[in-house]
């Protein structure tokens, strides 16, 4: 039912991802944007504040801040304040290492912010192998600070081959800390592309995670786990890629993209230094192509109504074809395992 309204076109995104800086004090091996050093010519404070006002005028409900590490920007709290004064809700994806009691106390005052702290394992060894030495401890300390406030807090985990078996333990850890667990999909973008083969979950791990997720109703999933069961996603009434329809991405230099995983020139929808946010949302040819995107090759699949072809970003990064359907979808996982079993039997 809901898709009908989405297809009619939204006056602006429901929410958007804003990667405010590429600067990061960590070098996580799965980072979608290869963060580290700041990008050349990142948006100035004045430009960022002007964008907040434009998003307010467009009545965007929520901004999901990421990066890089958002708190690496000295003016980040100023940008947050500008959002909250205008009633724009915010969610910050942070590695947690730059959160201290004073900062958390300031953030808690707004009542309009939610925070996701990234952790990639239930123990130091697994987490630090992906995120760097000492990060598990620092992130845990940050979660404890946040859990003591009214800020809605979650631990955000990217599902990889290395931590797939630890997801239930991470769920228990999140409960013990008094926060929720959110699991995001690993995509071959940024440094994640360089380390794709070593970090990607196997088809068996994806299927096992899907089964576990179906029984774990309070676990949240990232936007594009289309192929995986999610009560919240069903509750949202959406079963299609939201890029350019319900959401979009603003990069550190003011370029706009369909989503955070497609921040390349090929998918650049426009620059906020040349056009307004509303002009780009309304008139971009790239956005128009995503709104018209139909994954015909998946239409015969019995799961089509549940995913509508899955994540175009994964299809692009793995097959250079956004029309080709998600190569990592559950149905293909099942086929892949069956093929492997057949080969093993034949050998």
């Amino acid at each position: 039912m809901s898709n009908k309204y989405v297809e009619m076109g939204m006056r602006s995104p429901v929410n958007l991802t804003w990667e405010v800086s590429l600067a990061c004090n960590l070098r996580c091996s799965h980072c979608l944007s290869s963060s580290g050093e700041p990008a050349r010519d990142e948006m100035t404070t004045a430009e960022a504040l002007d964008l907040v006002e434009q998003l307010h005028q467009a009545r965007v409900f929520q901004i999901n801040f990421g990066g890089g590490e958002p708190f690496m920007r000295p003016d980040f709290e100023q940008i947050l304040d500008a959002c909250h004064i205008r009633g724009i809700m915010t969610c910050i994806s942070t590695n947690g290492t730059l959160l201290n009691a004073e900062r958390v106390e300031r953030l808690a005052r707004s009542r309009q912010v939610a925070i996701q702290v990234s952790m990639d394992g239930s123990c130091r060894e697994t987490c630090d192998a992906i995120r760097g030495e000492g990060v598990f401890e620092a992130a845990t300390a940050a979660v404890k600070l946040l859990a003591a406030t009214r800020i809605p807090t979650s631990i955000n985990t990217v599902l990889t081959a290395q931590n797939a078996s630890e997801i239930p333990a991470m769920h228990a850890m999140a409960h013990a800390l008094g926060v929720s667990l959110r699991v995001s999909r690993f995509r071959p973008s940024g440094r994640g592309a360089d380390n794709w083969e070593s970090l990607r979950p196997s088809p068996a791990q994806l299927l096992a995670f899907s089964d576990w997720l179906a029984e774990s109703g309070d676990v949240r999933t990232g936007d594009s786990f289309f192929s995986l069961t999610s009560q919240e996603r069903q509750g949202l009434g959406l079963n299609l890629c939201g890029a350019a329809k319900l959401t979009c991405c603003v990069g550190p230099t003011g370029n706009m993209y369909p989503c955070a995983f497609l921040q390349t020139d090929r998918f650049k929808a426009g620059s906020l230094r040349e056009n307004s946010f509303q002009e780009i949302w309304d008139n971009s040819e790239i956005y128009d192509s995503f709104r018209k995107l139909r994954i015909h090759s998946c239409e015969e699949c019995k799961r089509f109504d549940q995913c509508h072809g899955g994540c175009p970003a994964v299809a692009w990064h793995l097959k250079n074809d956004i029309n080709g359907g998600d190569p990592e979808c559950l149905e293909r996982c099942v086929t892949s395992i069956a093929d492997t079993d057949r080969l093993a039997l034949a050998a």
Binding site: M1, S2, Y5, M8, G9, M10, R11, S12, V14, N15, R59, F61, Q62, G87, M89, R111, A114, P152, E232, G235, L236, G237, L238
Partner: protein
């Protein structure tokens, strides 16, 4: 505005609403959840930002439109997009 002592309804602080072509789009950040309400132009987008009694509706509506909107307000309350004060 509602008279003193009368219970009022208002948008929940975790929720937002805006006008779309089909009517009103509600967003609940607690889920997050979306609600697509095919209200057309019957209600302005800022209608729920002010505390109002449940029976208070815009002027100029037909009886059937009023009935429909009252049911709609009840549904919004039930789903948690509005809260009673």
């Amino acid at each position: 505005m509602a008279a003193a002592g009368v219970s009022t309804t208002q948008l929940h602080p975790a929720c937002r609403v805006r006008q779309e072509g089909f009517g009103l789009l509600f967003y609940d950040s607690r889920g997050p959840r979306l609600l697509f309400a095919a209200t057309g132009n019957l209600l302005p987008q800022d209608y729920f930002e002010t505390a109002r009694s449940r029976d208070e509706l815009p002027e100029g509506l037909s009886d059937s439109q009023k009935q429909t909107l009252k049911k709609f307000v009840d549904q919004l309350l039930q789903k948690g997009f509005l809260r009673e004060q």
